[in-house]
């Protein structure tokens, strides 16, 4: 029979790596499969200054240490894999990778986290890196002296719009609602900045240009009228969504496609647990992902011990 791991963890962000540290340290054979780079959103964080006990570090360094800890306890980690099939309903659960490899485990912890939303409109892929950006601190300086658009109406969009005025001559904030979903002080700061203009109740429908971005098409949502608007750059800050589409119809989720768990991180499927940003919860931080990962690992370990004992009795 193929190797059956005690615990298989899908996702190597803060939640998945923490779960891996706990289960492998407790001597449960553990495999982490990760679709992206190890560390997940942590590696997108320039500076982590609110993780208790760590004065200040980069998300990259923190992810590197978590990975090392997990590996030193014997956890196997495979990153940048593509999973094509999930079979989580049986006692022994399995996943199949794009290259045909199958991995099996007695329990599974889902820790797929979340990612920045993209607009998914024509031209977005083409002009990424030549006019479209998702990170003001990274790319702001390339837009010095240019007129740009910022898409979004939350705290990130408004704060980054203000930050970008350091470089650009004009920022037009395009937002889908007639009000912002940001803190009052962030709204006030953006509204009082002479370089910032607002186009409300509108959305972008296309990016156009030659070598680099030159124009965006804006649609007024109530009237459905569309028009072209000059923009040499566009920064997109429209929030995060959970990476749970692969688990639709497999585990229970709410209307925002967040995985429903109980306080012990159990999903509706026996032996399947979930942790981190992908579950239903209010606050999404490294600390909360780490806490979820710990609980999921301990509950999974208990489940595996019990299930394997039952199997022994049966056989």
């Amino acid at each position: 029979m193929d190797e059956v791991f005690d615990v298989m963890i899908l996702g190597a962000g803060a939640a998945g790596l923490t779960a891996g540290i706990y289960t492998s340290r407790a001597k449960f054979s553990t495999l982490i499969l990760n679709e992206g780079p190890i560390g997940g959103q942590m590696v997108l964080t320039n500076e982590v200054a609110n993780y208790p006990g760590v004065e200040k570090t980069t998300g990259y360094a923190m992810a590197g240490i978590m990975k090392k800890q997990a590996k030193e306890f014997g956890c196997k980690i495979k990153s940048n894999v593509k999973i094509t099939e999930y079979d989580l309903g049986e006692k022994v659960k399995s996943v199949t990778l794009e290259d045909g490899r199958v991995f099996k485990a007695w329990s599974v912890i889902l820790a797929p986290g979340g990612k920045s939303r993209t607009l998914n409109i024509p031209g977005e892929d083409k002009f990424r890196g030549s006019g479209i950006s998702y990170c003001a601190t990274c790319d702001g300086e390339f837009f010095t002296g240019k007129e740009i658009v910022v898409v979004g109406g939350g705290n990130s969009a408004l704060e980054e719009a203000v930050a970008l005025t350091k470089y650009v001559t004009k920022v037009t904030v395009v937002h889908q609602f007639d009000h912002f979903q940001a803190f009052e002080h962030a709204v006030r700061e953006a509204q009082s900045n002479p370089k910032i203009e607002f186009i409300m109740e509108s959305t972008l429908t296309e990016f156009t240009g030659n070598e680099s971005l030159e124009r965006v098409t804006i649609k007024n949502i109530p009237t459905e009228e569309t028009y072209q608007y000059p923009a040499q750059g566009t920064f997109i800050f429209i929030g995060y969504s959970p990476n749970t589409s692969a688990f639709k119809g497999i585990v229970e989720m709410n209307e925002r496609e967040e995985i429903i768990t109980n306080s012990e991180m159990q999903t509706n499927l026996p032996g399947v647990f979930a942790a981190g940003d992908s579950i239903v919860k209010r606050y999404r931080q490294i600390t909360t992902a780490v806490a979820d990962g710990t609980i999921a690992a301990l509950t999974a370990a208990e489940y595996v011990a019990k299930t394997k004992k039952e199997e022994l009795v049966l056989n």
């Binding site: 780079p37 320039n46 940048n80 990424r128 890196g129 030549s130 990170c135 680099s212």
Partner: protein, 114 residues
């Protein structure tokens, strides 16, 4: 100084020497930011599989990196990192901004062979 597990090129002269001595070279020129780190991560992993390619980083803010910043293939680039693929000392391909593992693998296969 970039804190990655990849070897960092510090001078333009060093880059020229590397590309003249190695047939296939990939250099990611960036900072320790959210668009660059996923590319370094992918390269760290590819370094184990692709022995035919040499993988390096270069700090975008170093004046020595002008050799990449001002390369004609980077004209119009508006997103970090600038990733260069050199074949036999010449630029074979260049990309701007974050790239997925799949995209990087596709360029490596296309420009350097499978």
């Amino acid at each position: 100084m970039l804190q990655t597990a990849l070897q960092e090129i510090e001078t333009a002269a060093e880059l020229k020497k590397i590309i003249s001595e190695n047939e296939n070279v990939m250099v990611c020129c960036g900072r320790m930011g959210p668009m660059c780190i996923p590319v370094y991560e992918a390269m760290e992993e590819l370094e184990e599989d692709r022995e035919d390619v040499k993988f390096f980083t270069m700090a975008f803010d170093s004046p020595e990196a002008n050799i990449i910043r001002e390369d004609p293939s980077c004209l119009g680039f508006m997103g970090l990192p600038f990733t260069m693929y050199y074949k036999k000392g010449e630029v074979a391909h260049a990309t701007s901004s974050i790239q997925s593992m799949e995209k990087i693998k596709a360029v490596l296969n296309d420009k350097f062979g499978k």
